[in-house]
């Protein structure tokens, strides 16, 4: 949905010049909401002037034409472009009048400047003093650099969820650049040298969500996929065409020939326009790969379900939910006629199910020798789903009842996984493991390592790493055979997730955790499990995948974060790839980028689709290179920085210790703000000064320190902590940001003022509130969106109209304490509330658990722990944290 909206907005760039000028006069806060939401802000439209060139060479389109900021983007041959690369020649006069027709700003603040902001003239005076010598900075760039005293300015939170900063590129390049939802860099202005990067004290890295569900994706079928001959980069919008027959790679600068086939454009059916091909017009494309890209015929979709059926599992009742969910979604499992499916259950023994077509009912085979587990029969354990559908259905209907009276409490997970590996290795595919307790038998058995008394210790947290490398080794074997393992842990007791998660971590799977799951007593968890399963079973899947990340010569990849196996310095091996996993990459600058003005990153994901097609999805991101420290600060993408720091902190807490990781996070803020202060802001010597682009940095770091993964002092179960770590490492950026810094809205008094109108439904837009109890009132109802869970907090004196209209109860006292959904009532206010909530969930793939929290209920703590700006007995409040940072800085 977002993509289409972006498209709409891109169109606005094509409007006639007069229109654009009109838009330019629109005040920043007077923009319509839809524009703000679409991630494109008014400042983008105003900034259609291309930057002024800084060298004459680049004007000719020769030299580094494709890589210099001024030159037209690759899609347009140099000769067609007007001088200076302006898109709208008629606009010149207007822009010449403006004070600084300098490079486009990269505003992160664009659409959300609240009316209460300082007037512009004041900003300009500030700016002139702050940036004395820096003449090459435009007003709006200065706005992101505007020094702010964090100790004084309380309202630093934007009223809307902030769009990521736009890179400072010419309009043509910006238009084709990769969507920030897919590909994001922590610094939208890449520093020229490692020395400059070190000076800024900010991490350089990429946040990727490569297999995201897309509504629009150009798919290209051609015999030859055009790639650079030396670095094998796929042709992309940021290459430059030297003439009709040659193009220059934007990563290694090699000049390549344009093959004959590429001269023909299938879209316009014309010949001789290679720059109009979809590959060169879109930064996200998908190729259908030829047999050169496979070493064996594309594998079929193969799904194996490994189910725990011990007493504990039966007690929790997950089998009913699972079997029902799978029955409902059997038709929707991604795949084709070759799709295979199989089931293995285990307690102290391992049970197989023969589902051979023609049998009257499924046949259960039990292997009790778990020390040397073997496959009892070879051909009929994984069966073709289409041929044996009836038997599969029979089995799923029978499974929940088969073990109801089991007395077996042991769990032989290790042997079951070993046999799953054996079963799957000829084809590869996906293994989904459902486990409800600590594995206690056979290979890979584990002991409880958690000491409940240490849950809230402020000292070091032990046992964050694996206890044995059995699961890791198994995962590496699986990865080698293209088997991905997804782990669902539904356990109320300690199950050593730190060790078990390894099986998914290194085989590119996912981890799902439902603490204290029970199908009757814990409705919220059951609903979440059901919805997650629904998504899990029907979502897209890619098999036998590899992902390679290439970047401009001079940049190199330092570390990867996520679930995968690193095969080579830039190659990730992903046995399975799913649309819900994100990756982070730390980068370093090995050689100076002084002779280029653009840096590019390309992520290519080669995978087999569930329909047995080999496909390559290519994303290319292009960013400007800068030489000034202030520009590096101006382009900082604080959300991406926080996510990357979170990933680094988790690595640190496992390899070193949790307290080290926490110190490192605090130091990141201290160092960065010190670097900013040292960068010559001689204004306002007192207070804690941060550039506007980084004003949320201390807040986000404080929020990270209060995450389950990294907090100390508050009682946290080891498994929940480890799960939170897994999530931070493998979720895409949006999801992580919701987790780290939830959105809080007051929803009992939403008006239609400034509401969003989308397909004849009205979506109110309450402003974001700071995460502090100060903002809560007993008269209100507040919605907190934490990504995977949502809370609706209802105050004691909440308007009875609201309780009645939205929640369907007459008054506060009659509200039950365990409500988990909003009823569908036919009142205006109910509709409005539900419209708002579903709008929040629109781009979310997993449905969050929903809790209605009463002010006096025991669940209150789980709501209040997310109010990160408040003080807890063991952690700083936001203001205290700022003082702490200031104190550290003055040391």
């Amino acid at each position: 949905c977002n993509t289409t909206k972006r498209k709409e907005n891109v169109k606005s760039h094509h409007m006639t010049p007069s229109n654009i000028l009109q838009e330019k006069t629109v005040p920043l806060n007077g923009n319509s909401i839809s524009q703000i939401y679409s991630g494109d802000s008014s400042s983008t439209t105003t900034g259609s002037a291309s930057p002024v060139p800084n060298s004459y060479e680049s004007l000719e389109g020769g030299g580094y034409s494709g890589t210099s900021l001024q030159s037209p983007p690759a899609g347009v041959p140099a000769k067609q472009a007007p001088p200076f690369g302006y898109n709208y020649p008629t606009m010149h006069p207007a822009y010449q009048q403006s004070p600084a027709p300098k490079p486009d700003p990269s505003p992160s603040h664009g659409g959300y400047n609240p009316p209460g902001y300082q007037p512009y003239s004041q900003v300009l005076t500030l700016l002139s003093s702050a940036l004395g010598g820096l003449s090459g900075v435009s007003e709006l760039e200065a706005e992101t650099l505007r020094p702010m005293n964090l100790l004084q300015e309380r309202n630093i939170l934007p009223p809307k969820r902030a769009p990521p900063p736009e890179p400072n590129l010419s309009n043509d390049l910006r238009k084709v650049n990769c969507s920030p939802d897919t590909f994001r860099c922590t610094l939208t202005n890449i520093p020229q040298t490692q020395a400059l990067l070190n000076k800024a004290r900010l991490p350089l890295g990429l946040l990727l969500h490569p297999f995201r569900d897309l509504t629009q994706l150009p798919v290209i079928t051609s015999n030859t996929i055009v790639r650079c001959r030396s670095c094998r980069t796929y042709i992309n919008p940021f290459v430059s065409f030297l003439d009709q027959r040659r193009w220059k790679c934007n990563l290694c600068y090699r000049v390549n020939d344009v093959p004959d086939e590429f001269m023909y454009n299938p879209v316009t059916r014309s010949y001789g326009e290679p720059h109009k091909r979809p590959e060169v017009q879109n930064s996200t494309v998908e190729f259908i790969a030829s047999s050169d890209y496979m070493l064996r015929p594309p594998q079929p979709a193969v799904y194996l379900f490994l189910l725990d059926v011990s007493h504990n599992a039966v007690e929790s009742g997950y089998l009913n939910v699972f079997c029902q969910s799978l029955l409902d979604n059997l038709e929707k499992l991604p795949g084709d006629t070759r799709t295979h499916i199989g089931f293995v259950t285990f307690d102290s023994t391992v049970h197989f199910y023969n589902l051979q077509e023609g049998l009257s009912q499924p046949q259960m085979l039990v292997v009790s020798d778990i020390d040397d587990v073997f496959i009892p029969t070879h051909d009929s354990l994984l069966v073709n789903l289409k041929e044996s559908k009836e038997l599969v259905k029979d089995l799923l209907n029978a499974l929940p009842g088969m073990f109801t009276h089991t007395r077996e409490t042991q769990s032989a997970l290790g042997p079951a996984l070993q046999v799953a590996y054996k079963l799957m290795s000829p084809t590869g595919g996906r293994v989904s493991v459902f486990q409800t307790q600590l594995p206690t038998l056979g290979a890979g058995l584990l002991q409880s390592r958690e000491d409940p008394n240490l849950r809230s210790s402020t000292k070091n947290v032990q046992h964050l790493g694996p206890a044995t490398d059995f699961y890791k080794k198994l995962a590496l074997d699986c990865s080698g055979q293209q088997i991905g393992v997804d782990l669902f842990l539904l356990s109320s007791q300690y199950s050593d997730l730190a060790t078990l998660a390894c099986v998914s971590k290194y085989s590119a799977g996912g981890v799902f955790y439902y603490p204290s799951f029970h199908h009757i007593h814990n409705t919220a968890q059951r609903q979440k499990f059901q919805k997650d399963l629904q998504r899990y079973l029907t979502r897209k899947i890619g098999f036998e995948a590899v992902m390679r990340i290439r970047c401009t010569k001079g940049l190199s990849i330092h570390t990867f974060h996520g679930n995968f196996f690193v095969r080579s310095t830039d190659l990730l091996s992903l046995a399975n790839v799913n649309p819900d996993s994100g990756f982070a990459v730390q980068m370093s600058i090995e050689e100076s980028l002084a002779d280029t003005s653009l840096a590019c990153f390309q992520a290519a994901l080669l995978y087999t689709s569930s329909k047995g097609k080999r496909r390559i999805r290519v994303h290319t991101l292009c960013l400007p290179v800068v030489s000034q420290l202030s520009e590096v600060f101006a382009g900082a993408d604080i959300q991406a920085i926080s996510c990357l720091l979170a990933n680094m902190a988790i690595d640190r807490s496992i390899s070193s210790s949790l307290s080290d990781a926490r110190d490192a996070l605090v130091n990141a803020v201290v160092d960065c703000l010190t670097a900013y202060r040292a960068n010559g802001s001689n204004i306002q010597p007192s207070g804690l000064i941060a550039p506007a682009a980084l004003r949320l940095f201390p807040l986000y770091v404080l929020a990270l320190l209060k995450q389950k993964a990294l907090r100390t002092g508050t009682s946290t179960r080891l498994d929940e902590r480890v799960f939170s770590m897994c999530e931070l490492k493998s979720q895409p950026l949006q999801q992580i940001m919701h987790m780290v810094h939830p959105d809080l809205y007051r929803i009992d008094n939403m008006t239609e003022l400034a509401a969003l109108h989308l397909n004849d439904s009205v979506i109110p837009q309450p402003p974001l509130l700071q995460l502090t109890a100060e903002k809560l009132t007993r008269e209100g109802a507040f919605l907190m969106d934490c990504g995977s869970v949502m809370y609706l907090w209802v105050g004691k004196c909440c308007n009875e109209m609201f309780i009645c209209d939205v929640l369907g109860f007459p008054n506060y006292a009659s509200l039950p304490s365990n409500m988990t959904e909003i009823p569908e009532l036919q009142t205006t206010y109910s509709e409005r509330t539900r419209a708002f909530i579903s709008w929040l969930l629109e781009s979310r793939t997993f449905h969050p658990a929903f809790h209605v929290v009463k002010d006096d209920a025991s669940t209150k703590t789980s709501f209040f722990q997310h109010l990160v700006e408040d003080r807890t007995e063991s952690a700083f409040s936001y203001y205290e944290f700022l003082l702490h940072v200031q104190q550290q800085m003055s040391k």
């Binding site: 670095c231 094998r232 050169d292 064996r296 490398d469 570390t559 080579s568 310095t569 830039d570």
Partner: protein, 160 residues
């Protein structure tokens, strides 16, 4: 001039150090190959099953990673020999490396088999750079100690 036990120790150490130098070189080459692997463009499409060339390379890397334990054992072995021969100075010179080896092996990742390197973290740039540096330092140390043992051997032979 007599052939003493100390002289024998030095001779043995000389030979073994030659082997260690070979190990160190192998180690450096292996990590370099790991690091520069991406420069080989041919294997882009051969990502599923490695080509013969790749298999050879992978085997080489694996062997180098397996040589860790023999290297440590050899070093410990001649340290013990020097201890028996009461060559205190030589032993003292070897102590830092010995203690480094012990520390390195104690702080290795959780593993069921012998070994030092975890395939899942080895590609981390920091660890890779560390291992490369370690290789070069060891090579320098072994080369110097090779000449020192040569000198020590002659000295012992001449002085006794």
């Amino acid at each position: 001039m007599a052939f003493t036990f100390a002289a024998f120790c030095y001779m043995l150490a000389l030979l073994l150090t030659a082997a260690l130098i070979f190990f160190a070189i192998w180690h450096i080459i292996a990590f370099d190959e790991l690091k520069t692997d991406y420069k080989n463009p041919i294997d882009q499409c051969n990502t599923l099953n490695p080509t013969v060339d790749r298999v050879k390379k992978i085997k080489r890397v694996r062997l180098a990673l397996k040589l860790v334990l023999p290297e440590y054992l050899i070093h410990v072995f001649f340290c013990v020999m020097f201890l028996c021969a009461a060559e205190w100075l030589t032993l003292g010179l070897n102590m830092p490396l010995l203690s480094y080896h012990i520390w390195r092996y104690m702080s290795r990742p959780v593993m069921s088999g012998p070994g030092l390197y975890d395939p899942t973290t080895i590609m981390n740039a920091d660890i890779l750079a560390y291992c490369q540096k370690e290789g070069w330092c060891k090579l320098a140390f072994y080369l110097l100690s090779f000449f020192y043992y040569l000198y020590g051997m002659i000295y012992v032979l001449v002085s006794s």
